[in-house]
Amino acid sequence: MKRTGFYVFVIALAFCCLFGISVYSFWNPQTVSTEENRALTSMPVFDKETWFSGEFSQEAEDFFSDHVLYRSWSIACAQEFETLMARQSELQIVSHDVDIGLDIAAVDPSAAADSGTASDGSTAANTTDSDDTTADEQQDYIILSDRILSLYRFDEADTWYYINTINACFNTVPDYINKYLILAPSRVAFEDAAYQKYSSDQKAAIDLVYDNTDSLVLTVDAYTPLSEQDRDETYFRTDHHWSQFGSYFAAKALFDIAGIDYVPIEDYDEYEAGTFLGFLYAQNKAAAVDLANYPDKLEYYLYDGINNNMTYYTLGDNGEYVEAQALMIDPSRQGYYTFLESSCVYSVIDGSQHDGSCLLVVGDSYADALCTWLAQSFEKVVVLDLFEFEEGRAGFVNMIRNMDVTDFLIINHVNNLEHVNFTAEIKNLTQDAEE
């Protein structure tokens, strides 16, 4: 009996430990999880409405789950456990939820420095409001020993939703403004046939969109010039973005079709900014063990040593915009964040021209690298964060007028055609803002 009593004590102690670990949640100040690239749930308000709607209990469960003691360590252990269960093979295909619209760095700048990862969202992808985070879509990945490919799945309904939405958006923009559309292919489009077969045809999807885009819009073929380049130069291996070098070919295609003067890449100087493990690696750490020791190299280009200044605007507590300064290219931001300070509602890059030209850019994070080239050919480049901008159609039109916008560009990568949340954010520019 005494002996059994000892065992009861041991088990009771285990329950006490679980209790202590869980109760710590109340004092845990952490707001983001770098491991999962998402904001942690905050403690919900308890009132009659939240209780009877079930909102309180659901969010409270998430809150405790998100804030227990040793959570980061637990996640690392759990991922190790999953690695132990898995047999490593030359090729793996896995699926994950994709967070649209969250950027850890925006919520916790130190986090980005730690992880060096980028989110799958937009330029855009930066937010200070955790409520905007929605893990809404499944994304498939091929994991290889030296790279990860994010796969593209064509969906006709989603693509048409996108087409109708961008047409509405272009129609919101006055016709005296030059309008452009760039759909950037993702890396898998240029992979060997053995891997391409797991992904839908990106060229066909791009053509479908371009063929049905408003006739006043200049559609830019980035696919063809990128297909002529070495994919290891134009895209990252551990991140889903194109490199700054890759984005040059899209920029060049835009300059060519629009008849805009530009500085050829040969006149730029190339710099090295160290290595980083990107978003794709962060998403697939457990399965992509080999990649940990094979990070991406980050290189950037400056013309004549000029690193343009940018002013970026965030929303303060009182709802007023707060202004801050940054460099357009800053390797201290790490990884793909090097290109543009994007934790804001919108930013204005001081371009190298003095001709009154102003380009307004909306889209996803593929815009970041692209804008570094465009800045040399415009006086101003304004980059709007779709996920942060809450002023709706009126605010959007005001911005066009107030900024004296002369050119308007929508740019996103093909995968976002299927991410309806992304398209919905574009749609917000054509609708009245919610009170």
Partner: protein
């Protein structure tokens, strides 16, 4: 609240255990258990907890009246009313929309759907309530005079949401007087930890692969992929549901209750009849005792009775035609098995062959069970027999899906058999060593599951939706 969640294992359970064992007498302990049970249910169903309380009040009153009324006809009438009231609540929440949907389909009308979602666990607690009044009617038990004890019986949190279906006759005495022992605490905690491991490790990981193949990719599966997905789902549903039952039985044991077993290694069965004697035993015995036998059992129109019982069993699992088909599928199999037995053709004499045949039969059954959408089900069945025209490039995906849990698969296979238990009993013979092993395993599994839960998204038990 899910048993395999931080809030349950880390907050709710330790607090309830603490308060329970700090309470000095039976009354206070029952009060703690009742309040905890109501909070537990209200946490998931803040509105419908009152419906459950109301339904229990109806059954409590009906139970008292049934014991007092002498006339047989009056008794029958009262029983009929009580059963109708219980089933009407179940019908409204669970079957009304199904009925409306079919009515609209048949008549072309557009009757609007019932706007409320089904309260969690309604099928389980309604059936428990039914056993209470029917057993009183039959004179098997005396009515409980204390309403709170009836409420405790219906709402007891360990088995409230996903069973096992506990009969009042089994625990009537235990509610009033039971012994919480240190052995019970160790054994119960061990059983709880085993159940949690079944859910968090086996069910969730096999379930992730099953979902990837059966839900996301069902239309592009090759035959091997479809079978592999089904194989994983076969494990998932067993470990998920039996895991919950283990946790419920374990919790019950901690609090001094002895619930009946709900699973007895069903996948080692050699016939469909045996399978259903081992799978969800509390439901099978409910239908046997409260539907099949009253209909005439084996004595008259047996096959019709089987058909009715299995159509109802199917419907109990969900308001969808696929569940009815699934139930009828088993009815046909059971009738066929009985016919063959009469002709003295008995596959169960061939140990491995009969087991493999049974497993394949059960797996096909899970295929019907899985898809509530007919077009998906047909698409999947086509894949299963290799007739999917789009199944060209997915073989590597199927292979890599299996790679994700490659080293877990042998454990899954062994885990559905009594082998681990037999080995443990053979190796550790002394009771003291067994207690040590159970304690160590319990603490280790609790810690491991708690760690794994952090990395898993919300993953309710499959049987919550029934």
């Amino acid at each position: 609240m899910v048993f395999s969640s931080v809030i349950f294992a880390g907050l709710f359970l330790p607090i309830v255990l603490g308060l329970y064992f700090l309470s000095k007498n039976r009354i206070w302990r029952n009060i703690v258990l009742l309040i905890a049970s109501l909070i537990f249910y209200a946490w998931g169903e803040p509105k419908w907890v009152f419906a459950m309380i109301g339904l229990t009040l109806v059954d409590y009153v009906a139970g008292l009246l049934l014991a007092r009324i002498k006339g047989r006809t009056c008794k029958k009438l009262l029983l009929g009313v009580a059963i109708a009231l219980n089933l009407s609540l179940l019908f409204v929440f669970k079957y009304l929309n199904f009925a409306i949907e079919n009515f609209n389909l048949l008549t072309g009308s557009s009757v609007s759907a019932f706007p409320y979602a089904m309260p969690i666990g309604i099928s389980f607690f309604t059936f428990q309530a039914l056993t209470y009044i029917i057993d009183i009617y039959r004179g098997d038990v005396l009515p409980q005079k204390n309403y709170l004890y009836v409420l405790l019986y219906i709402s007891m949190f360990p088995q409230l949401i996903a069973g096992p279906i506990v009969r009042y006759s089994d625990i009537a005495e235990q509610i009033r007087s039971r012994n919480e022992t240190t052995e019970g605490f160790v054994n119960g905690s061990f059983r709880f930890a085993i159940g949690m491991a079944k859910k968090v490790i086996f069910a969730n990981y096999s379930g992730a692969v099953a979902t990837a193949l059966l839900t996301t990719q069902y239309s592009t599966l090759t035959a091997s992929g479809a079978w592999f997905g089904l194989f994983m789902y076969t494990f998932q549903i067993y470990f998920d549901f039996s895991g919950y039952s283990d946790m419920a039985i374990g919790l019950g044991r901690i609090f001094g209750f002895e619930f009946r077993e709900n699973f007895n290694y069903p996948y080692i069965s050699r016939s469909v009849t045996e399978f259903w004697r081992r799978w969800h035993m509390s439901l099978s015995s409910f239908f046997r005792d409260y539907v099949y036998i009253p209909l005439g059992g084996n004595r008259m129109h047996q096959y019709l009775n089987i058909l009715i019982v299995w159509a109802l069993t199917g419907l109990w699992h969900g308001a969808n035609w696929n569940f009815v088909i699934w139930g009828l599928y088993y009815a046909v199999l059971l009738v066929a098995e009985k016919k063959l037995n009469r002709l003295e053709i008995n596959f169960s004499r061939l140990p491995i062959v009969s087991n493999v045949l049974l497993l394949l039969t059960v797996m096909v059954g899970w295929g019907i069970f899985y898809y509530t959408d007919f077009s998906q089900m047909i698409g999947f069945m086509r894949s299963l027999v290799g007739l999917n025209p789009d199944a060209i490039t997915m073989s590597i995906k199927e292979l890599t899906s299996s790679n994700q849990i490659f080293y877990l698969i042998p454990l899954l296979i062994i885990g559905v058999t009594p082998i681990p238990k037999k080995i443990a009993v053979r190796i550790v013979k002394k009771e003291r060593a067994q207690t040590f092993l159970k304690t160590f395993t319990c603490v280790a599994l609790l810690a491991l599951c708690f760690v794994l839960i952090m990395n898993q998204s919300y993953n309710p038990f499959l049987y919550f939706r029934f």
